[in-house]
């Protein structure tokens, strides 16, 4: 950069640079905006790292179902099918699992062994039975009520006030036969349906459903992490679509003015009056629902405000000297628009684009909530909320709506705070106070 030559265009750039620097300084002072940005970065990292997180941390895959572990509360444990770890062999050796001592471990023996293990896990007091106190202190929740005496009474068939392992079967059966058979088959090389000592790699290790499971026994945390990917991707890509349409439309209308402007902006006015979301809904119902269509459909209906803002900016800029200078050396109109006008209007454009992200994320969530957006096996926060929304589900298993709902709300809140902060920072005059 040549700072000593005031006539070169680089001079303007140097001045522009310090403008952005100032803005950054102002932005960093705004605590809400910084907190918002931090949360957005966190969510983006989570979305990007979804494959690693699900294989290394949650250990469950997005789609794996556990038919016997449906609607389990947070803290419940289950055996992952794909990313299975095993318990240490010296603590849980072959002989301990092979209860009948015939030299083979069957699916049933594994299932029984893990049931016993879970029973001991819940038996915090170590009395060999589950008492009311055990249930209260258990590392997992029991849905529906916090009246532990009643939960206990519900299982206590012989009425002795405590649960033995048979009575607690429904609570501790974390490795049902179907899953055990699947596990045995994975390791069974001889094909006899049971594991010999050298086929036996260890007892599969129970993992925690940290946020519980859904109606198909899928791990909610894993699904929420993968859902972040789609929700954020839609936010970003649909904003890009609306950004390109809106900026081009508004800049051309503003720059050429006259009849071009009238016709183009009249068109925008008419679109404003359309209940376009119905058309989007119609489109989504009718055509094969693909993620790409969601990006395009949402982006294509969200550019109206952007075009108005850009038009206003361009109109206020186009009579300034630097545009006249560009004209006088014969720069073609479109080049003036894209090389000179738009870069100068970038501040408000960026601010508005930032505020478009939460708006389009909300629309995606809205469509997915109606079952019209993201389709299985893919999932987004909106479609997760949809799964948790039916009245019967919502009241009994509230985590299914609260988890994706609060992730979505917090992300939107962060984006809004950040966008507002950016607006105040980039253009203190636009500040409404």
């Amino acid at each position: 950069m040549t700072e000593h030559n005031p006539d070169s265009p680089a001079h303007d750039e140097a001045a522009g640079h310090s403008l952005w620097k100032d803005a950054l300084k102002r932005l960093m002072k705004n605590r809400a905006a910084v907190a918002g940005l931090a949360f957005i970065v966190l969510m983006s990292a989570m979305a990007l790292g979804a494959p690693v997180l699900s294989s290394q941390v949650t250990r469950f895959t997005v789609e794996e179902t556990n038919p016997c572990l449906r609607y389990q509360p947070p803290g419940m444990r289950g055996i992952p099918r794909v990313h299975t770890r095993t318990l240490p062999l010296d603590e849980h050796p072959f002989e301990a699992v092979d209860r009948d001592g015939d030299g083979f471990v069957t699916a049933e023996e594994l299932s029984v062994y893990l049931r016993q293990l879970e029973f001991e896990h819940l038996d915090v007091s170590g009395t060999g039975t589950l008492t009311e106190d055990d249930l209260r202190r258990a590392p997992r929740a029991f849905p529906g009520t916090s009246d532990y005496a009643r939960i206990l009474a519900g299982y206590d068939r012989n009425g002795d006030g405590v649960l033995d392992i048979d009575e607690a079967e429904l609570i501790v059966d974390i490795f049902p036969m179907s899953a055990a058979i699947f596990y045995v088959r994975q390791h069974d090389r001889t094909g006899d349906g049971r594991l010999s000592p050298d086929e036996f790699v260890g007892v599969p290790r129970p993992e925690v459903f940290r946020l519980g499971t859904d109606g198909l026994g899928r791990d909610l945390l894993t699904r929420a992490i993968w859902g972040a990917r789609i929700s954020l991707a839609v936010g970003l890509l649909a904003t890009l679509v609306s950004f390109f349409i809106g900026v081009t439309w508004g800049a051309i209308a503003g720059f050429f003015g006259g009849r071009v402007d009238t016709v183009m902006m009249r068109f925008v006015d008419i679109l404003y009056g359309l209940p376009y979301l119905f058309l989007v809904i119609l489109l989504m119902v009718i055509f094969e629902q693909s993620i790409l269509l969601i990006f395009i459909a949402i982006g294509a209906v969200s550019w109206l405000d952007m075009s108005r803002i850009v038009r206003g900016q361009v109109i206020s800029l186009k009579n300034q000297e630097f545009v006249l200078a560009a004209r006088s050396i014969g720069t073609p109109g479109l080049e003036i628009v894209f090389r000179h006008l738009i870069p100068n209007a970038l501040g408000p454009i960026i601010v508005y684009a930032t505020l478009t992200v939460p708006a389009v994320m909300l629309q995606e969530a809205f469509l997915s909530f109606l079952g019209l957006g993201v389709q299985p096996p893919q999932t987004s926060w909106g479609s997760l909320a949809n799964e948790g929304a039916p009245p019967g589900v919502m009241v009994n298993y509230p985590w299914l709506i609260l988890v994706p709902g609060s992730l979505l709300a917090l992300t939107l809140l962060s984006l809004n705070f950040f966008g507002d902060g950016l607006r105040d920072a980039l253009d203190p005059r636009m500040r409404k106070d």
């Binding site: 008419i270 404003y272 009056g273 359309l274 209940p275 979301l277 119905f278 058309l279 809904i281 119609l282 489109l283 119902v285 009718i286 055509f287 939460p358 909300l362 969530a365 809205f366 909530f369 109606l370 079952g371 019209l372 909320a385 948790g388 929304a389 009245p391 919502m394 009241v395 509230p398 709506i401 609260l402 709902g405 609060s406 979505l408 709300a409 939107l412 809140l413 809004n416 705070f417 507002d420 409404k432 106070d433």
Partner: protein, 305 residues
């Protein structure tokens, strides 16, 4: 004025026509037909139904028949429900209007109140409190807020019935969940408008000539501060209408929105079109009212030239 209204009405009819045509052809271009679902129909019966609903004729002819019916005020028959669309819509629309209307009313009243408070007591606790509330309000999707309210007030405290719509009290929670976003947005608009107006010369003049502060605020400033709110009411009502689709699903209300999604899934052509027409007509009328309201509030705007 009358000329302006006539012009606007003409435009609105053109917009309605575009919406109807677009929806009609999009719907027809879709694979699947209302008869091609669930169980296989007897070929004779299918043939009879096709003839009855004119599905066997070219699309353009069907379009002609449909428009002809519309002009006569006939919205056609629901193919799946075997009932006139106009009857079905008439049955559902009171629920949607009630919930949407209450939501807007709630939003305008509470929103302007909060915005006014924040604007008049700028940079005080009132201001920050109201604006934080507004920020949260615009960030919580209504389909998340709805279930939370149900969990709290219906399932938890038992103040409302969570099963579905039975009587008027059941419309409170849906209206609040639908309206909160607009409350928040209107609060922000009012605050912004208030801050801008309160510094203008005519306010200073009013104060200088000794008008009581209460009158300055309510007679002079509020009028100007409400202009952005009024112009927002048009888009807001459009968005309340779409929002009600979701809210009706969450709260199990038998309104238009529920119809719309089911009908679109079932390819129930005339029902879908009927609902779209009713929604669009509502919207067009609301927009017109908003524009006229604008002249009343802002003497600088005139449609007479």
């Amino acid at each position: 004025m009358i000329q302006y209204i006539a012009l606007r009405l003409g435009q609105s009819i053109a917009v309605l026509f575009i919406i109807i045509s677009l929806s009609f052809f999009v719907m027809k271009a879709a694979p699947g037909s209302p008869l091609s679902q669930d169980r296989q129909l007897d070929p004779d019966i299918e043939q009879m139904l096709m003839e009855r609903y004119r599905l066997d004729q070219p699309v353009i002819v069907q379009y002609g028949w449909y428009l002809r019916g519309l002009v006569r005020g006939d919205l056609g028959q629901s193919i799946r429900q075997h009932a006139p669309v106009s009857e079905m819509v008439a049955e559902a629309i009171p629920y949607s209007l009630l919930i949407g209307g209450q939501a807007l009313l709630f939003a305008v009243l509470l929103g302007t109140l909060l915005g006014l408070l924040a604007g008049l007591k700028q940079n005080t606790g009132w201001d920050y409190g109201a604006m934080t509330f507004a920020m949260i309000g615009v960030s919580i999707p209504n389909f998340v807020l709805g279930p939370i309210l149900i969990l709290l007030f219906a399932a938890g405290l038992g103040w409302f019935n969570s099963g579905g719509y039975e009587a008027w009290p059941d419309s409170i929670l849906p209206s609040v969940s639908l309206g909160l976003f607009y409350t928040a947005y209107i609060a922000r608009l009012t605050r912004g408008g208030m801050l801008e107006v309160i510094r203008q010369d005519f306010i200073r003049t009013a104060r200088a000539k000794g008008v009581v502060e209460r009158l300055v605020v309510f007679r002079h400033a509020l009028r100007g501060a409400l202009l952005p709110v009024v112009s927002y009411l048009g888009p807001a009502s459009a968005s309340v209408l779409t929002g009600s689709v979701v809210i009706e699903k969450v709260f199990n209300v038998p309104g238009l929105g529920t119809f719309f999604v089911d009908a679109a899934f079932n390819r129930d052509y005339f029902l879908v079109l009927g609902v779209i027409i009713v929604y669009s007509a509502l919207l067009v009328v609301l927009n017109l009212i908003v524009d006229l309201l604008y002249t009343v509030l802002d003497p600088r705007v005139s449609y007479d030239d």
